[in-house]
Each structure stands twice: as C-alpha cells, then as structure tokens.
C-alpha cells in the first residue's frame, strides 16, 4: 500500500504515497494528535479545513473512555468523530508504561490500574488488536514494550525479546480479527525498540521485518535523550528497514528534528508539541525558506508585551480553508485572548501551529522532490 516515488539526491529523504481505506497520504506527513477523539480545542471539521488527511488517536485512552461498548455501538472512531480522513492509533503501550508503579509487566501482557477510576485492567497484544479493530483505525500499531532511558543492557535485552514476541502475537490476532471488522483494509505497523543501542536497534528491526509488517515505527525515542542520540540511532538502523514500507518516527519532534529525520528516511511523524505549546501561547512561524538551516523557524510567545498593540495578522496567505478565519485576527487580539484566558486564544493558536506543521511537511515534500534537502 506504500509507493516510494523518489529518494532525494542529497540525503536519504523519500517521497512516496501511503494508500489507506480513508485516502492516500503523500509522504512524508505529519499527524495531528486527537488522543481522546478530538484534537484539543478543534473539531474534525476544523482539521479538515486545515487540510490534514490523517489524525492520530490513542488505543489506551479510547479503551477507557468512551469504552469499547460505546465505540462498537457508534460504529468506530471515524463515525464517532465524523472524520472522513485516515486514523492511526497508538497501541497505548507508551501510556501504560508511563503508569509507573501502577503497572506490572508479565509475558502475557501488562496489568495496570486505570488512571481514571483505579480499575484493574490487563492489556495484552491480542486485546490491543481487538480494541483497534473496534476503533476501526486505518493504521494499527502492535503492542510493544517501552523502556525508559537510560536502561541497563539487560533490561533493554529483555524488553526486546518481549517486544518481538508481542509483535508476532499482535500480527496473528490482527489477521484473525480482520473479517467482519469496521475497517478490513486496515494496516498493521511493527515498532522497533532497543533504546539508543545501535546493535539492539538493528536486531529489533530484523526481528520485526522477519515477522513482516505494513510499516515500521521507531519507538522509544524522543523520551528525553538529546536529538543527536536519536539521529545516531536512526543512522545505525534505517538500512535494516525495507525500503518498500513506510517508516514512522513516534513521538515528539520539533520542526528542525522532523527535517533531520526525513533526511534519514523517515516518512511519518506525530508530535504533541504544536498543540500543547499552542495552549500555552507559543506559536511557530517560518523565518527562512531553506529547511536545512537550523533557524528556518521561530517560536513566538504571544503573551509577550511586544504584541500588545500589534496589528499584524496571525497568518498571511490563504492556503487552507481555515485561513479566511485565521487571517482575520491580529497578534494584538490573540495576546488579549490569552491575557483574559479566553479559550478562543488556545483554539486560534492550535490552528496556527497545526497549519504550520502541515505546511512544513508540504515544504519538506517539495524539498525532497527538488533535491534541496
């Protein structure tokens, strides 16, 4: 379902297309995060207007609320959200492993307490697939074992063995649950782990390609390690991933990091920063056209005194269907909204930042095509 169109003459950056039951996505692309079935402050109508063809949601969170009984009755997440585009769901592994002290890892799966009501729950690779089938994701993720960094070699090794076994069990159950599901054309991605250890990363990549997936995610990075470490880790392992499958870098990626990862052959991204930062009054703007410059963008604190009387428009141009609305307001108004704590401020900033990330990916795709990055 992935077609590789071209590779840059300047780097390992790739241009391709990923076909899903809910549209064909031009790669590299970015996925706005709708953890609980909504991009915070936005509707699916808004995300459509901003031009994203895909959203990312979360298995763990949707499992707890609204729960699978409701999800089944409502016809899956596409219908619940009334979202026509594609959906990728995180397996929830990362969320469960973040519940330090509240969870217990066993070979069968992981038992933990709900962060909402303390209920005892068990997530297994099989269960994880069943949930994602009810959600009706276009791209499902296997349940993996996330390891906090730094970790001892022994701990990383153990996690890797389990990650491999769970990946196999995930795939088996994924295939068994296809028939009669909301979205039979869904794809399943494996998740490469191994911390920042080059050898373990290569082994994990091999483990997963041996099983065979529709795409490969790089998990367990962006967990606090320096950006250079993440780059080195990618450098050590990317050639172990098949070229005819998409690669997805999971988790936080600032704009310049996205460029660096694309140059190493990554095709898919998500990141909570554009939306989370927006809610704290931080917005992104392009400064230079050359994306290989580390300073090609800037971040602006809209709460800063300097914007108090600014008549500067929030955005220029009319690139997306949402731009009529965004171009109408000034930085002075946005600052006022944040200072009086009107939710509209968070909403406008969120739209600005998602628009920025989507435009970044457009520029990235053009850059790869033109061989300028």
């Amino acid at each position: 379902m992935f077609t590789l169109h071209s590779t840059s003459s300047k780097s390992a950056a790739r241009r391709g297309a990923l076909a899903t039951p809910h549209g064909t996505l031009q790669t590299p692309f970015f996925m706005p995060i709708a953890t609980k079935g909504a991009v915070k402050t936005l509707s699916s109508f808004d995300v459509e207007r901003l031009g994203s063809p895909i959203l990312l949601s979360n298995t763990y969170h949707l499992w707890l609320r609204p729960g699978m009984e409701v999800m089944q009755a409502m016809g899956g997440l596409h219908r619940l959200m009334e979202w026509q585009g594609a959906i990728l769901t995180d397996s929830g592994g990362f969320q469960v492993f973040s519940l330090q002290g509240l969870r217990k890892l066993k070979p069968e799966g992981v038992t933990f307490q709900s962060h909402i009501d303390g209920a005892k729950l068990e997530l297994t690779p099989e269960k994880c697939m069943e949930i994602q089938r009810v959600i009706g994701s276009d791209i499902c993720m296997v349940l993996d074992v996330c390891t906090e960094l730094p970790a001892t070699p022994k701990k990383l090794e153990e996690a890797l063995v389990l990650t491999k076994a769970w990946a196999k069990r995930s795939k088996d159950r994924f295939l068994e649950t296809r028939e009669g599901s909301f979205n039979p054309g869904a794809q399943l991605f494996g998740i490469v782990q191994g911390g920042t250890d080059p050898e373990l990363r290569r082994r994990s990549a091999q483990d997963l390609t041996d099983i065979g997936f529709d795409g490969y995610a790089i998990g367990g990075l962006s967990v606090g390690e320096p950006h250079e470490e993440a780059c080195k880790t990618l450098d050590a392992m990317m050639d172990r991933l098949p070229t005819d499958r998409p690669r997805y870098f999971m988790g936080g990626a600032q704009p310049h990091e996205i460029v660096a990862y694309v140059q190493r052959g990554v095709d898919m991204f998500d990141c909570v920063l554009p939306t989370r930062n927006a809610r704290h009054g931080l917005i992104y703007r392009f400064v230079h056209d050359d994306l290989t410059r580390p300073d090609f963008y800037e971040t602006i604190h809209v709460t800063n005194e300097k914007w108090k009387m600014s008549g500067e428009r929030l955005i220029t141009g009319t690139h997306t269907a949402a731009d009529d609305e965004l171009a109408r307001y000034t930085m002075g108004y946005l600052r006022h909204l944040f200072s009086v704590e009107e939710m509209l401020g968070m909403r406008l900033a969120t739209m600005i930042n998602i628009r920025f990330y989507l435009e970044l990916m457009e520029r990235v795709r053009r850059g790869v095509e033109e061989g300028s990055m």
Copy 2:
C-alpha cells in the same frame, strides 16, 4: 433610529427595527455575550456563521483588560475582534456594584479595587462614556446605580436620585465625546431602576424620558427575584416608556421569560445562560411550536448516561452557515467530549445554545407578526 413596525393583536409585543452604524437589527432580538471581547469558546467568525447581527460586551472588563491604551491603538472593539456586526456595551455598573466590600459609592462616582490586581480605580458617569467611546460601541449604556434586592425604600430612593443625576451626566459627556470618536453614530440608552417597587420604577422611567435617550433599558431585575415579580414590575412601568424607542431587558432571561417580556413590550435581550449552561453540558431544544406554552422547550444534560450511544444529530436542518458543522456530530460524541473534558464539547454546546436563542427570537418575531403571541 428605531422604527416600530407593528404591535401584536394579542399582547403588547412589538415588531420593529433598530438601525445602528453596523447594521439594522430586527426587533425583538437577543445579544450573545462577549464580556471580554469574545463569546466564550467562539470567534467572531463563528458568531457570524451562527447569524447574530449583534454582540454584547462589557465596559468594566475591557477597561481593565486590554485597557484603553490598547483599545485606542487597536482601533476599538470592532477592529480588535474583527466583528462586522453591532456592539452594545454594558456600562460596567453591575460589575462594579457586585464588588461588595471592595467599592465605595460617592455622588461623583464609584471607587473600587480591580478584581485583577487590586488597583484603586474610579468609575464616573463621564469616564464610563469616554471608555465606551474608545471601545466604539454602537449602543452605549449610561452608568447607573444598581441596588441589591431586597432593599429598603430609603436605599432604593437614594439610588434612584443618583441614577437620575448620573444618567444626565452620562448623556452630557456622551454628546461631548461624539466628535472624532471611532463610532460617531453610536446611541446612548438610559437604564430604569427602582427594584420591584412600581412607584419607583415609574418615577425612574419618567426621570429618564425627561432627559431623553435613544433607548431605555430595564436594569436591576433578574437579580434573584421570582419571574412573576419581574413581570409585575414591567406591567407597572412599560406604559411610561416612549413607544418610539427600543426597550432592553438587561440580564438573565430563560426562553419562556423572554417570551413573557416580549409580550410586555420588550425589544432587546441578553443572557449569560445559554453560553454558561453550555459549558456545563446543558443544551436547549424546542419541543413545541407554540411559544406561549410554558413547556415549548426543554433543557438536556448531555452528560446523562442516556446519550452514551446516541446517534441522534446535535441539530436538524441547515438554518445557519454553522449548521453544516453542527449537524455532523451526534449526541453520543458530545457526551464523550464532556466526559473526557475536551473543550470542543463546550464549544459545540455553546454554538447549539446560541443558535437556539437566535432561532427563538426568529420565532418570536414571526409570532408577533402573525399575532400568535
């Protein structure tokens, strides 16, 4: 600037039109509240899509933030919010008088402490006009003296004397500040006080009509008294207001109360309930066409279990430009959004309720025209 088209054959209800520098408004109408320069969770673009020709904002709140230096530099509230419709501003009297213990009433004006930083401020009738001129409101309100109910006759009497004097000073300063202001075509409304005492109400109405205003507001009601008391108060005084000027009932009014006040000759309304209730998951819906039935509408708690799996659309019909968006989501989704505390829930509910109040007023206008109320 007010044209009375007709009076109902069944009651004192009126159909008319109020011309302002930012559009002609069909009466009776309802004003969504944008206290601090935004209807909570909505942009001016949203309010436009919902079809309201007017917004209500607040002198006191805008005076404190963003402050008049910023307001002047940004070109007034229409430009700050980028709102093309009309704006009415409350004088801030009600807000200042709500600062119990923090404020001191003198004949010159009222001194008080800012609820934000404790700064000592003084609001006089003159200052109040100057602020509203900088805001650039289409309809300015005089500074009045609000009295808490119940109040002694002596207290009401004193407040009335001051209200009269302040109304006169407001008008004088309003006329002096017209030239060179952002909105020279602005109108000034007087505010009738007098609690629920028929005699004082009539006197206050006389005081204000003697001075002469573009419209007359009924203040000091909807402060906790029973609805019947408010009706009786209106019954005692409405014939003292000139028929060729609009009448504005200030503050809270549930849908059935609006109908009752319209039947007593009121032309303009505002109310914080549709938007505040929306943020608590309470939405309004029509049940019967006959507005004179007390049960012509219902309020629904969207958080109720019964909506968990509901595929019912939030609204039916495509009445306004916002309806494409609203009609797409289900009650089940709205309930989910409230249960996981996604701001989108508040936003959708706010749109539903404003849309309800605007449609209510449309039905009211039709009802008056047809003589059915």
